[in-house]
């Protein structure tokens, strides 16, 4: 159990309170849903199991053992029998480590007296999620990336997986640049089995690119949960007086501007971006979770879980 885990440095990502709360939440959730212990979720992925799902036409390369000979006998056509695979949930947490995630902001929630940047918030969130998954005997994996994939841990449900994931999270550093769209495509390609993809990101890339990447996930039959992280300042742009804005991703030059002059345009732009992403998520049946970093992450997580069940 998590309580017996050695007090490693990476364990900071899973503060005691949070772990305690999460185990109760799990109980809560379980009490709510009566279901088989093995596999709390009906996987949308079709696999080879006992419960028949459907037929599909034979394609060269398919395993011959799955041919439905009886259909062949009746219809003289090759069909492959497909079964619903009842598995544990295979979840992959995808954490955006781009430069923009470094943004902290004055109004962000704090932990141990330190204000959390979006990245740190994401770290804690990812850790909590991973812990929760493993506790539920689901498989969990982790992908961190900035302009490319920095670490890739395949989903597994063994208890040591939490340690692996936490270690990787602990070592992750916010990088420079993000090409969120392209990296997500790569992630989509590399996640081997269909499962749940939990993306924690501020989505600071062109909405079209991101939506394309989501389509890619969907195409690979992944279920998407997007934790959209935003700092309060990014949503209200409360600055006054002359400011010089320095790009955290180091892409664009510094910008000196009177914030008041651009506030409305900026907010309009942000609103548009958010609604683009949100509506795309709606179309893809993805779970869109807006997270303002001013809200403590465990609260937000608890709310999310409460909603999801």
């Amino acid at each position: 159990m998590s309580d017996s885990l050695p007090s490693q440095e990476y364990m900071r990502l899973l503060p005691g309170g949070t772990a305690g709360m999460l185990s109760r939440l799990e109980f809560l959730a379980r009490a709510k849903k009566q279901g088989p212990v093995s596999g709390r979720h009906t996987s949308p992925n079709k696999g080879f199991s006992v419960v028949f799902a459907e037929h599909r036409q034979y394609m060269p390369g398919d395993d011959l053992k799955n041919l439905d000979w009886r259909v062949f006998a009746k219809a003289d056509k090759f069909y492959i029998k497909q079964y619903i695979e009842e598995t544990n949930l295979r979840a992959t947490v995808v954490l955006d480590c781009s430069g923009s995630m470094k943004y902290c902001g004055e109004r962000a929630s704090s932990l141990d007296g330190k204000k959390l940047s979006k990245f740190e918030y994401g770290q804690y969130l990812a850790a909590a999620l991973s812990y929760l998954m493993v506790k539920q005997q689901d498989a969990v994996g982790l992908v961190t990336f900035d302009d490319q994939i920095r670490s890739f841990i395949k989903a597994a449900s063994r208890p040591s997986q939490v340690r692996l994931v936490l270690e990787a999270l602990h070592q992750a550093q916010p990088g420079q640049d993000t090409r969120l769209g392209s990296v997500l495509h790569e992630v989509a390609e590399r996640i081997p089995q269909r499962g749940l993809v939990v993306i924690i990101s501020d989505c600071f890339d062109s909405a079209e690119e991101i939506v394309k990447a989501f389509h890619h996930f969907k195409y690979r039959n992944h279920e998407i949960v997007l934790f959209h992280l935003m700092a309060e300042e990014e949503l209200t742009f409360p600055f006054t007086g002359s400011q010089e804005f320095k790009d955290l991703e180091g892409l664009s030059p510094r910008l000196k501007v009177d914030p008041r002059t651009v506030r409305s345009a900026y907010l309009e732009r942000i609103r548009q971006h958010i609604s683009q992403i949100e509506s795309a998520c709606g179309q893809l049946n993805a779970d869109y979770v807006p997270l303002n970093t001013k809200q403590p992450y465990h609260e937000a997580l608890a709310e999310f879980l409460g909603r999801r069940r």
């Binding site: 949503l235 007086g241 002359s242 400011q243 790009d247 345009a265 958010i274 409460g306």
Partner: protein, 971 residues
Amino acid sequence: MNLALLGGLAAIAIPIILHLLNRRTAKVLDWGAMRFLLESVESRKKRIQLEEALLLAARCLLVGLLALAVARPFVPPGSSVPWVVVLPAFLIALVSLTTALVLRGNRKWFWTLLGLAALLAVGSAAAVYYERQLNLKRFGTGGGKDIALIIDTSSSMQLTSGNSPGTVFAAAVAEAREIVDKAPAGSSFSLMMGGPVPVARLAEPVVNRLDVTEALNALQPGRGRMAAFDALAAAAVSLARGTNPAKEIIVLTDGQNIGWETDNKARWDALVAGLETLPAPPQVILRKFALPATFRNAALSEIRYSREVIGLDRPVSIEVTVENTGTEAITPGGVDLLIEGETLKDMTLGQLPPGARQTVRFLHQFKKPGSVIVEAKLSVTDDLPLDNTTASVCQVVERLGVLIIDGNPSGPFLERAGAFTALALAPASALQAGREPQKDRAKDQAGVALDPEVIPLSRAASVESFAAYEVVILCDVPKLADSTARRLAAWVHTGGGLLVAPGRQALPEFYNNWRDAAGQPFLPARLLSERISRDPAGLALPGFTHPALAMVADPRQSDLGGALFTRWWRLEPGDGGGSATGARLGNGDAFLTGRKAGFGSVLMTCVNLDASGSNLPSRQAFVPMVHQLVYHLANPSGQPFNQAPARQLNLPLTSGMAEGGLRGEYFKGRQLSGPVLVRIDGKTEFQWGNHSPGPGVPEDFSARWTGMILPGYSEEYVFDGWGDDSLSLFINDQLVFERGGDGKVRLEAGKAYPIRMEFFDRSGGASLQLSWRSPSQPRGIIPASALTPFSPEAEETELGMGRWDVTGPDGRLLQAELKFTRGGLVARLGGDIVPGLYRMNVPQASAPQFSRLVNDDGTIPFTVTDDASESRLKPLGATELKVLRERLKLVEPQSAAEVVAALTGQQFGEELWKYLAAGALFLLLAEIALSRWIALSRRSGEPEAVNFENRREPSAQFKEQLKRVQETAGV
């Protein structure tokens, strides 16, 4: 320009520096959502930049304008740079340059603004080049000025100054030309000649410099002093006619102190108040040409006569004063006096030290009555020849008509009230035992100037006209008939002299209620009560202040001190205007009071001049005293043909003539237009027969008489008349009768009704007659006393009677206008009046009418007197300059260049700074409005906060449980 201006313009940098500093001090903020920020900046960039540029430009311009306004810049004298173009171009270019600097991010705007600045620079350069090439001064320095040039034309300007070859006058004119040439473009000039009477050469400000230069070139040096104050006043008047807001007065003078009237506070107050009413009180630029430190000059001052009235009876002593006004001792050669064709020489002059005076006396017996020219010449070589000659015109009278109205004509001669007076005036004629002096006696005895006529009071009412006399004396008259009193008052108003000597019969109620036509008390004093004293009172000779008594006031020459009075009237000086007490008795009671009444004057003594109440007639000084009083009364205005310079000279051609009558206009033919003769006619009865009614009037003529009729009773009058050939009468503009006949009109006493008579005669004998009658008066010709050519409302109504040519000194040609005034016929002369001798050409036809005045050559001579102090060359002193500086915005430049600098120096400071300040104010408001608008537009575009909330709320049950969990977990 002053340095503050440059410092001020540097202040334009302040908004820019603020702007840049504002950017530099920006807080650095690490920002994640740069992509969106950049996009939104991109979309707003143009508008933001425009707003910022506008604000910045407005602020720069505001600061620049304020700096300029405070710096009160002026254009360098004689600048050929068209500042009105260059300065705004410079400002705008500066602002566009700075704005371009701010907008350097925006290529398009940057280059556009740079191009604009360059264009403005090129334009300014082109304007400068154009201006240099053509030297038009067309652009000017922003608004011209109205400049009044006063050039001193006084005699002393004809001195040669130390450092220039010509006269000071020539130097002044040359400098005036230079000033006109270099004055700011758009200026307009008026030009005054600062003589004894300032004459406007250009009364209205003229813009065309050629005209001004021409007028300057035509200026001739004048004579006499400069009436500097009057010249300033005239300049102020001409400036008021100008259209430019900025005004300047330039006085080019040698800086003599006369004529500035610095003691006359009231006049200066009025002038300063007048100047204050101009849009901008003018600066007075006083350019003084130095008076020579040493000069040689002897001057003749005016000619004086020993008697006020000059007759043919005795030789007259003529005095001429010679004064050395120079700085060196001088020995004049002598004085020549030219009189009636004779030359009297005087060689008694010795050496005169500076400032000394010597009086030269000539004795001359005048031979003929009339206007006699007396000219004095000083033989001397000095710096200022103008004052070496002087002239005077004296009126030599043959007889002086004096009418003595005797209130006590019965009894022995010496007991008659007027006896001693008549004796005193004409001893020879009056000594004809007990008989009245004969009127025609004067004709027998040539050379007797005084011609007294004594009539008893009873005949006073029948005196047809007092115009035949110069002086009337009332001796112990108890009272006069109302009509006589009224006529006498009217006669005094038109120039007569009246001496009232009330005796024991005098009735105070008459004297105290004697009023003139205007209803004012006529006499100078009121009779309080007659005082009979046992203790006789003497005369207080030191109290004899009246000018007529100056001769008898000297106790060494006069025995009047021994006069004793036992009864006299106590006089209370009246409250009528101008009453003064001229002599007193020993106990302080008034002895002689006097006042001017109209053109004449009235004297009143407290006793009758006889032996009944005093021993006055027994004094030896009695005769000269009476003579002096009569002379004074006969000649109330002094020497009317030797007048001080004035804007308007009125030369009396008749005296005491305008008692009544109508204005008659005579025309050729029957057209009542274009009169050939205008004159005043008395009674309404004419018998011309076959003679012409007047010079220039043909046999076939028509005439029109106009004026007012003054009825004596309020009742219905019947007018009847006839004319050969025809007479028509209009009263109150109503036809009474036409071509002879009669008519009735109701009139009221004391009111004046317009009357008009029209007459024509085709040929043959011409005559007319107009009579009136009423229940209270018998039929009779309307007398002159009931007619007047003046309307009663218009006190100053004057009738033009034609023009005569006048030749003045230095060949000046002038015209005198004949005016019929209440004071009689006068020749009115205006314009360029300088001291010297003038001759008025009387047309031959009119000469007989004025034979008393006209000389053998058909002219009436007169002089305008000079001011002797002009020759003394006293410069304006410190106290006078102090007064001027207090009253005026005085600038005292030392050269033409400094005058121009003073003219242009105030240019912007005086006029432009207001516009600059107004512009700055406008910009300030615009800046406030703009920034407000920008702030508002930004605020109004403020969107609601971005909705970043989770739409799907967890169930209430879950939330509750969660809360519990959180509590127990202690998170």
